[in-house]
Symmetry: C2
Amino acid sequence: MPSPPLGFLLSTLASALRENTEKQLADLGLTPREYGLLWRLADGPLSQRQLGELHRIDRTTVVGLLDRLEVARLVDRTVDATDRRRHAVSITDAGRTLLESATAVVDEASSSFTAALTTAERSTLLRLLVKLLEGSQP
Amino acid sequence: MPSPPLGFLLSTLASALRENTEKQLADLGLTPREYGLLWRLADGPLSQRQLGELHRIDRTTVVGLLDRLEVARLVDRTVDATDRRRHAVSITDAGRTLLESATAVVDEASSSFTAALTTAERSTLLRLLVKLLEGSQP
DNA sequence: GCTGATAATCAGTTATGCTGACGAAATGCC
DNA sequence: GGCATTTCGTCAGCATAACTGATTATCAGC
């Protein structure tokens, strides 16, 4: 039997892992996608457009996601001084604190998800996926 | 910078590859998900429930997908002789013919998607993803 | 200054998946 | 054999999510 198509593997595995992660994150009041945004913002502020492109989220959807995160005081929207059209989205201290707890449960979920792999295989997989991502969004 | 969360990598890459594949498959009148079902059925008939579980598609969604494929004469639904509640879903000759053409464009899409990887890396990646899938749905 | 392009937002539409119910058929229990 | 329970596929309705197009504010080029 030939290997399943790459697209099938990626989307099925993504769906399975998301199901696990979703339940754990729900206790913290976060969705996986919101967690992803917080994780991204930990490296520094980004515009909404940049956030959307990096995470493949439509610009209009980003608005709603950030609305919710902002009301929860997890992120801030400030007008970018160098380009007043842009919003510089940054993570708050409360956001960082929640991100820490969330990262613990996300790591736990993905560890158990990759239990069938050895440690070496797991890091190889991550390395290849990162390489793939860098190749697809240069 | 630490590696992105596994879930983010999987879902982002799945989304990016799907976007590429979608356009190519549209010329053949197939969605990526429909292609996945045809690919699966090439190995032999399955019940709708089995199809849904293997592809992580809700049972009620499977109904609609198969409706469309059946109208297009790509699959057949026959009552399973050993369990008359079940439908044995099988691929038709026309379905196999289309599957061949579709596989060509899907392979092409995933090859170009993995252009940043060496041949060895590409097969390692596939091997690890398959191992992960087998571990998550035993 | 004007023109065209870009960032964020909003309203409205569209697609999508899921919930709960149903009939038909199988299984288990007595 | 007869009855309750479970499973399979189906359907209608609901909820959610994403996208389309338009709008406002701002910027860059000429």
